[in-house]
Point group: C2
Chain length 307, copies 2
């Protein structure tokens, strides 16, 4: 799957991923009205609204981008119907041949991580059948529990040719509280990065990058520069571009000299583009066209920073 | 909710929680056969089997225990139908007046943690309605992202009188890879414990304990002893008893002198008791009676260690 991701990044010339993190506040009134009319102001109604919203964005942007990253929290908040909308989104994005990065940030002790890995990336044995639960292509994983929490994911990734992105340095303001603390003179995130490098060596793709990637926020470019060197063959998933404050020029050092090695996420900046002044002319009815334009602008922004 | 948990622990004299982590391998053949006959060897069939299995255990043990802890990974592995079985389990346990600890180990950047908090502990605004998604009483939370990831949970806990348990020192063998690393002479888990104490002070229960609890594995009793002192008013959720190797005598120091302050989880040891030699006489048909006996034995084991 890392091979597919790299091939699609090269084909689209777009090292970007669209974060499908639909909040109800982002969704145009006409979509909400229709969904609520059919299902009421219920969990089902909200789930229908976010699904229709996502579908519109996927229909207008899929040809431009290699991947999408649905953030499962935004679906879980609507309970079981929300999780069903997540699954519909994953399946629909897959039908458009997009790579799906499930932003689930799971991680637990061994046997439990195995269940998460099987559920999100693998297939579970039921009687004589092996059935996929969510079937994303990549999942994000939390490293706090150490190797026991990570290895079951790598095992499933090997069986299914799938991948993970492990949190190393997150984009949020307080990420430093623990991640930046010095251990033998180096911050915790560097030690986690070293481990990611080690875990990644166990499962390399033919493209020269590992199936085991990492997450490093766009909001900490100096740390990104160091971590790029700590993990030379690791794909970096970069959240925090745009709405969270990360700028394209800061992202140059997240990439390797081959122009690869990083994929930059934008969520709000793309999916709620129509709410920004720059794209207001599209109007709420044409929110998906605004998203398409925002994708084009993001690709150009990153391209011009890299070249 | 911490007040209710403490009151129920006192009433049952059972500082224990039953981990509802159903693997298909634990489920008696007669339950699986019936479910597969109705729904096939499908995700729906597996979800029905784990739900019926849980229901049996809840029916026979609810009067003995204060709380249950469903591990959502074991449900997520069966996709959307599995998550629906999780929700049914939560609701049914609630109808038995049990306290529900959702073992979800979520945690993300601020706005995303907020969605998790709302979805699991709070109510989401949909039009003019505020609706609960999963509605557990407590959730487990991962601290790697720092305060931004925790505060949104505390905010929802205040609104809804609910609680969280933050991972401090986990029970698995490799938990030390990062958690034990020394920072200014003290292991990371102690720094996390200090923070838990600080966060907990923001939301204290009338019972003298905080709505913000922590997780410390039974498998590291020396660390538990230190962490008890670091976080005197924090309830400790203790996994790792029984199947993972933790012994009752090791758990004495997880409790305060008031006999409170800790709640010990057992999953496999209770729910798959009928598979152990000690309870084999019950037979697979009466698996739930075996679980009841295993609960009684666990209560006695811990009681005799404490007194």
């Amino acid at each position: 799957m890392i091979n597919k991701l790299v091939a699609k990044i090269q084909k689209t010339n777009a090292p970007i991923v669209v974060g499908l993190d639909p909040m109800l506040a982002y969704i145009p009134e006409h979509i909400k009205e229709k969904a609520f009319k059919e299902y009421g102001e219920t969990l089902e109604g909200a789930a229908e609204a976010i699904w229709q919203f996502n579908k519109g964005i996927l229909d207008t942007t899929a040809d431009l981008i290699p991947a999408v990253k649905p953030q499962i929290a935004m679906y879980e908040q609507f309970g079981v119907p929300g999780v069903a909308a997540y699954k519909k989104t994953v399946d629909y994005a897959k039908s458009k041949d997009l790579v799906i990065i499930g932003d689930v940030k799971r991680g637990d002790i061994g046997s439990t991580s195995e269940a998460y890995a099987v559920g999100h990336l693998g297939r579970v044995q039921i009687g004589s059948n092996r059935i996929a639960g969510f079937d994303e292509d990549f999942a994000t994983v939390n490293p706090y529990l150490g190797s026991d929490g990570i290895k079951p994911f790598i095992k499933v990734c090997k069986e299914e040719n799938k991948g993970i992105f492990i949190l190393v340095k997150t984009s949020n303001p307080s990420s430093g509280e623990f991640q930046d603390r010095l251990i033998d003179g180096r911050p915790l995130y560097e030690w986690v990065g070293e481990k990611v490098n080690e875990w990644g060596a166990e499962h390399m793709g033919e493209c020269g990058y590992s199936y085991v990637g990492c997450v490093v926020g766009a909001t900490y470019p100096e740390m990104g520069k160091v971590l790029r060197k700590v993990m030379p063959k690791t794909y970096i998933l970069v959240p925090g571009y745009g709405a969270q404050g990360g700028k394209a020029k800061d992202l140059v050092h997240y990439f390797n000299e081959d122009g690869l090695g990083a994929i930059v996420n934008s969520s709000r900046g793309i999916i709620a583009a129509y709410k920004q002044e720059a794209y207001a002319k599209f109007g709420a009815e044409n929110y998906a066209d605004a998203s398409r334009q925002a994708v084009l602008d993001m690709i150009e922004d990153i391209d011009s920073a890299l070249n």
